[in-house]
Symmetry: D2
Subunit: 365 residues, 4 copies
C-alpha cells in the first residue's frame, strides 16, 4: 500500500505544491515604491487565500454540474453531489473566518497603502463572479456598482471567463429540471398537489372552527385571525394553480411542488438524500449571504463612508447584495407552505413501496 505506484522519482512537498512559485506571488506595491507598508502583506495574502478557495469551489461545481447534466441523474451520484455542495458550504464558512484575521488590520494601517491600489478592488474577482453565475445569479438581478454593470471594470481576459460562465449551465436550472422530473409527485391515482391542498384546506377549516369557539379572544383578535387564515388560503391556492401568476418564484411550479414533496416526506428512503441536497443548498445560500454581510461590515470599518477603492459606495453596495443577490431563495420561501406533520396526507402504500429499497421490497418473490 505504501509503495510508489509507478516507481516514479520521489515526490517533494515543496515541488509538489509549487511553493517557490506560490510564494513569489506576494509583491507589495508599497515595497516596489520604496516605502514598504507592513500590513499590505496581510492584505495580499488574505485575498490570495480567498482566490485559492474560490478556485476550489469552482472545481467542486465542475463535478456537481457534470453529475447534474445526466438525465436522469444517477442514483449513485447523489451522495457525492451532496458532499460536493456541503464542501462548498464548508469552504464558505471557512473564508468568512478570514475576515477575523483581516480585521486585525486597523483603518490607519490600511491607509499606508490604500491609495496605491486604486482602482483595484475585490469587486474585480472574476472567480467570485463565476461562482455567483454558475450557482445561478442573473446579471439582470445584480445591483449596479457605482452606476455601472458588475463587469465594467474587468480586463478582457476576465470578461471572457465570465462570458463562458454566462453561456454555461446554471446549477439552479439543473436543479429545477431535476426536481421537475421527480417521479412520485404525480402518479396514476395519487396527485401530490391535490392531496396536499385538501389537507391544507381541512387544517385551515379546523382552525376557523377553533377560532369561533375560543373564549380567550376579543372580537378584534378573532377578526384578525380569520383574515390571516383567508390570506394563507390564497397563498396556498396560488402555489397549486399553474395558470396563476408564478412571479414570486424563480423555480418552475413543478420544481417547487417537488421540493415541497421532498421536504414533507423526507423520511422515505428515496428522498433522504434529495432532502439533504436541498438543505445543503440552503446552507450555501446562507453562508454566501453571511460572507457578503461580513464583507460589508469589514469595508465599513476600514473606510467608513468613503467610496471603496473600486469606486463603489462600499458598505452600502455590499450590504445590499447580501439581501438582493439571492439565488436559492425559493427554498427558504418553501417553509411558508409547510403544514404540521399531523396534518399531512398519508402516502398510498404502493407509492411508499416504490420509494423504498429493492432489498426490502416485500412485493418481490
Amino acid at each position: 500500500m505504501t509503495t510508489q505506484a509507478d516507481a516514479q522519482p520521489p515526490c517533494y512537498y515543496g515541488d509538489y505544491i509549487m511553493l517557490d512559485r506560490l510564494l513569489s506571488c506576494q509583491m507589495r506595491e508599497s515595497e516596489r515604491r520604496g516605502r514598504p507598508a507592513h500590513d499590505e502583506m496581510l492584505f495580499i495574502v488574505v485575498h490570495q487565500a480567498f482566490e485559492l478557495w474560490f478556485k476550489q469551489i469552482l472545481h467542486e461545481l465542475d463535478r456537481v454540474q457534470e453529475d447534474f447534466s445526466h438525465a436522469p441523474l444517477e442514483d449513485t451520484h447523489l451522495g457525492r453531489i451532496v458532499q460536493g455542495v456541503e464542501r462548498i458550504n464548508a469552504i464558505f464558512k471557512l473564508v468568512v473566518q478570514q475576515f477575523d484575521v483581516l480585521e486585525t488590520m486597523t483603518p490607519l494601517d490600511f491607509l499606508d497603502f490604500r491609495d496605491l491600489l486604486i482602482p483595484a478592488s475585490g469587486f474585480q474577482s472574476a472567480q467570485f463572479r463565476m461562482i455567483e453565475i454558475r450557482l445561478g445569479l442573473k446579471s439582470e438581478d445584480r445591483l449596479l456598482i457605482g452606476g455601472k454593470p458588475f463587469d465594467a471594470g474587468l480586463s478582457e481576459a476576465d470578461r471572457a471567463r465570465i462570458e463562458r460562465a454566462l453561456d454555461g449551465p446554471k446549477l439552479i436550472d439543473q436543479l429545477d429540471r431535476w426536481l421537475a422530473r421527480m417521479p412520485f409527485v404525480a402518479q396514476r391515482d395519487y396527485v401530490f398537489h391535490d392531496a396536499y391542498r385538501d389537507a391544507v384546506v381541512r387544517m385551515l377549516e379546523a382552525d376557523v372552527a377553533r377560532i369561533h369557539a375560543s373564549e380567550f379572544m376579543s372580537e378584534a383578535q378573532r377578526e384578525m385571525e380569520l383574515n390571516a387564515i383567508v390570506a394563507a388560503l390564497e397563498r396556498f391556492k396560488a402555489l397549486f394553480a399553474p395558470d396563476e401568476g408564478h412571479e414570486h418564484w424563480r423555480l418552475s411550479l413543478a420544481a417547487v411542488q417537488a421540493a415541497l414533496f421532498i421536504a414533507v416526506y423526507r423520511d422515505q428512503p428515496v428522498l433522504q438524500l434529495p432532502f439533504r441536497l436541498l438543505a445543503a443548498l440552503m446552507d450555501v445560500e446562507e453562508s454566501l449571504r453571511l460572507w457578503r454581510y461580513r464583507h460589508a461590515l469589514m469595508v465599513q470599518r476600514m473606510i467608513g463612508v468613503k467610496v471603496g477603492t473600486g469606486g463603489s459606495s462600499g458598505y452600502e453596495y455590499l450590504s445590499a447584495t447580501a439581501d438582493r443577490h439571492r439565488i436559492f431563495n425559493d427554498l427558504f420561501q418553501l417553509s411558508t407552505y409547510l403544514i404540521p406533520r399531523s396534518a399531512l396526507p398519508p402516502l398510498p402504500a404502493e407509492l411508499r413501496e416504490r420509494m423504498g429499497f429493492v432489498y426490502a421490497d416485500r412485493s418481490k418473490p
Copy 2:
C-alpha cells in the same frame, strides 16, 4: 397556520423557558461569603451552559438509541438517526468554543474564588459521564482519577443515574449489531470478504512486481518496501480470519467487515446514509477528543501543575483521556484497510440491483 392550536391562554417567552427559575441558579459562593469575586459568575455560567447542552445530547441519544433498538432498523428512521448524531457533533463543536470565553478569565482571577469550590470539580458532571457511557465508554477502560475510580466523588443520586446508564444499551453495541446484520455482505454467490481479500492480494502482488522492476530503488529500499508489503498482507489476512485473535478491535468481525463494505461501496443508494452515519460517528469521536484536549489545555493554563479542585492531577489526567477514552476508534482504524477504488472488486449486477431503489428497478415489470 398562525392561529393558536387549542386557543390556550397566551404563552409568554419568560414563562415558557422558565427564566425566573433559570436565572436564579447562579449563586456565587464568594458573594455568599461576603467577598464577591467578579469572575465566579462566568465560571458558573459556562458550566451551566455545558450542562444544558449535555442534557440536549442525552435527549438526542434517547431517540437515536430508541430508533436503533428496532431490529431490523427501519429504513425510514435512518435519516433522523444521522441527523441526531450530526446534531450531537454540532453541539460538541459549539461547547468547545465555550473555552474561548472561559479563557478570558485569568489564573489570578480564578484564584479569587477557587479555594471556595474545593473539592467540587467538573469531573463530577454526571451528565457527561452518562454521555460517555451511553456512547460506549467502558468503566474498565477509564483512567483512574487521583488513584480512584471515576465515580468515587459522586453523590448518591448521581451514582444512581450513572448506574442506570451503565445498565442501559450502549450506542456502540447497537451499532455493532446493526452492522453485523447488514445484508449484502454475504450473498449466495458473493462473499464480500473473499472478493476483497483476493483484490488485496492481486494489488499487493502487482506492487511486488513493480518493486522488482523499479530502477529508482536501492537494494535496501527494495527490501524495506517488500517487507512492508508482507506486513500489510498479514494485517489483511487477520481482518478476514474469524479464528485469529480479534483483540485489536472492539466491534465484532462481522461488524468491521460490514463497515468496510459500506466505506468502499458508499455510492450504492442503500449505503449512502449508512456511510454518513459512520462519518458522523467519527466526527463525534473527534469532537469529543478535541473537547477533552481543549479542557486539558484550559486547566493547565488556569492552575499550572497544581492538582485540580477535584484532587485530580488536572492536565495530565485530562490530556491522557483525550488519547485513551476512545469509543469509535475502530472506525478510524478502518482506514488502514482501504484499498484504492481502482483495485476494488466489482459488485455482482444482481447485488447492485438489490441495493437500489424499487422505482428504478428495471427487473420489475
Copy 3:
C-alpha cells in the same frame, strides 16, 4: 494553596451550580399536552443558553459601567474595562455559533410545536433589551415591531426591569464623557484639531497639484477627482467646526475629536489601552450586528415569509435591526476622517513626554 479557605463543608459540583434546579427548567409544552415534539427540547435549551450568556453580559456591564462612573477614570481600571468589553465580544461570537446548532432543526420539525408558543417570541427577551439599552440603543431609534413599540408585549416585571435600565447610565454616554475629558487633545500651545485640520488641507492641496500634473487622466476624470477633494474638505471642516450642525454624530464633537486623536496616535503609551477599548467596542457592535443578521436568516429559513410567533414580520424586522439598531456607529464613521501616517502632524515633544510613563521620564531627576 489547595486548602479549603475557611474549612467549610465540602462543595459538590452539582450543588454548586444548582444542577437539579437548572435541569428542571426544560418543560416542553408539547409534552405537557401529551404529544411530545422531540425538537422542542433543542428550542428551549438554545434559548436558555442565550439567556444565561445574556446574564453574563449584563454582569460584565455592571463592572465596566461602575468603573466608568469614576471621574476621572482610574488608569488602573482601564485594563479590566478593556477585558470586560472583550469578554462581551467573545460571548457574542459564541452565541452566534449557537445558530449553527439551532439550524439542525428543520422547518417541519419546528411546526410540530410552533403553534403552541404563540405569541411568545425571542423579542420578549428582557435581558437582551437591557443589554441594548445599557450599551446605548435609544428607544426612539428602535424600529416598531408589527406597528407596536418594542416593549409592547412584555410582562409587568419585564417592563419594570427595562424601565430601570432606561433610567440608568448608558455606556455610550459614559464613553462620551470620558473621551471629552481626555487631556492632550487641547494643550496650552497645541490644539489637536487645528494641527490635524492643517495637515488635511496640506495633504489635499498636494493632491490637487498632483491631479493637475497627471498625464494619465482624462479631463472628465480630472474634474471628478477635483470635486471629490472639495467634498472631502467640506467633510473635514464640519468635523472641526463646533457651530456647524453635528447631526450625523451621536457622540459630542469633543468626544469625536478625542477618538480621532486616539486612533492616529495610538502608539503613545497612554493611548494604547484607550485605542484597544475603541477597537473592542467596534468589535461588540460588529458581533451584535452579525448576531442580528444571523438571527434574521434563521427565522427566514424556519418560517419563510410568515409572521413570527411574536406577531412581527420576522425576517424583515430582524434584518432591518441589523442595519438600523446601531450604537457605536460613530467609531466606524471615524475611519472616514483618517489621513495616512505620513501626513500626520507631529506631536510636540513636551506632549509626547506627558503621554509616557514616569519611569522613562528623562525630564525627571
Copy 4:
C-alpha cells in the same frame, strides 16, 4: 483622499495579487498521469493556503523580532508587538479551521492519489519549521521522525532556509532578555521576590493554623493537607533561590520572576501591555498545540495506523509533538505560583508612581 497618490497607471485586482501566476500553481499529479483524482485539488489548495498563512506569520515575526531587538524596547512599540502576536494567534485559529474543510475528503478519496505523493509530506514544510524555530523550539527538544532528525528529508534550499532561522534570534530569548531587564522588580528598598516570598509564607502559615482548627477534617485529611502545604512551600522557595537548580524552567530566573510580577500587578499602567503580551504568547502556544493535535486526528482518520506519506508513524508522532514541542510552557507553569490577590504584598507608593503615566504624576509641579 481617494486620489491616486502618484498618478500611477491604474492598478488591476488580478494583476495586483498576481492571480494568473497564483492559480497556475495547482498541478494535480494524478492529472499529469492521466487519471485525474477529483480531491487532489482540495489537497493541494489546503496545503497552499497553509503555506500562504505561514508566510504571513513569518512576516509578522519579522517585525515583532525587529522591535524586540531594540534594547531597551521602545514603549511606543509595545502596542504593535502585542498586535503582531495576536495576529499570529488569529492566523493559527483560522488555519485550524481549514481541517474542517480537508476532512470533507474521505480516506477512500485520498487513496485515489495518495501513492503518487510518496514520500512527500507536510513534515517537509520549511516555513512551518522556521516558525517553530523562530518562536524558540530547540532542535534537541524535537522528536525524531521515523528515527531521523526533523530536517532529514528536506531539500538543500529548504535546509539552508532552516539554517538561517537556526542562526537568527529566537523570540523566546528576546522575551527572556526583555523580562530580565524589567525595572521595578528590584528597587532600592523593594525587592519583589522577597516581598512575594514573605506573602506566600504568611498565607501558608495561616492555612496551617486553619487546618489545625478545622472541625470538618479527619486526621488523615489533616495530614494530607499539611503535607500539601509543605510541598507548596518547597516549590516557592526554589522559585526564588538562584543557586537552586532551575532545570524545570527554560526562561532565566530573573525573567520568570518578572513574568510573575507582571501577572500579579497587571493593573498598573506600565504593566497592562506587558500582561497582554504574555497572554497573547500563551494563546499562540495553545493554538499551535491545537493545530498539532487537530493535524494528528486528521492523519489518523485519513490513514489509520499506516505510516504517513513521509515515512513517519503519522498520528503517534504528531500527537506526541502536541505535548512535547512546547515553547512558552513556562508561562503556563507560572500559574502554579500565583497567590490570591488578597494575599499579595502591597506595592510601595513610590514604585506605583513610577509605574504610572507622567500626565497623572502628582509629584510633578
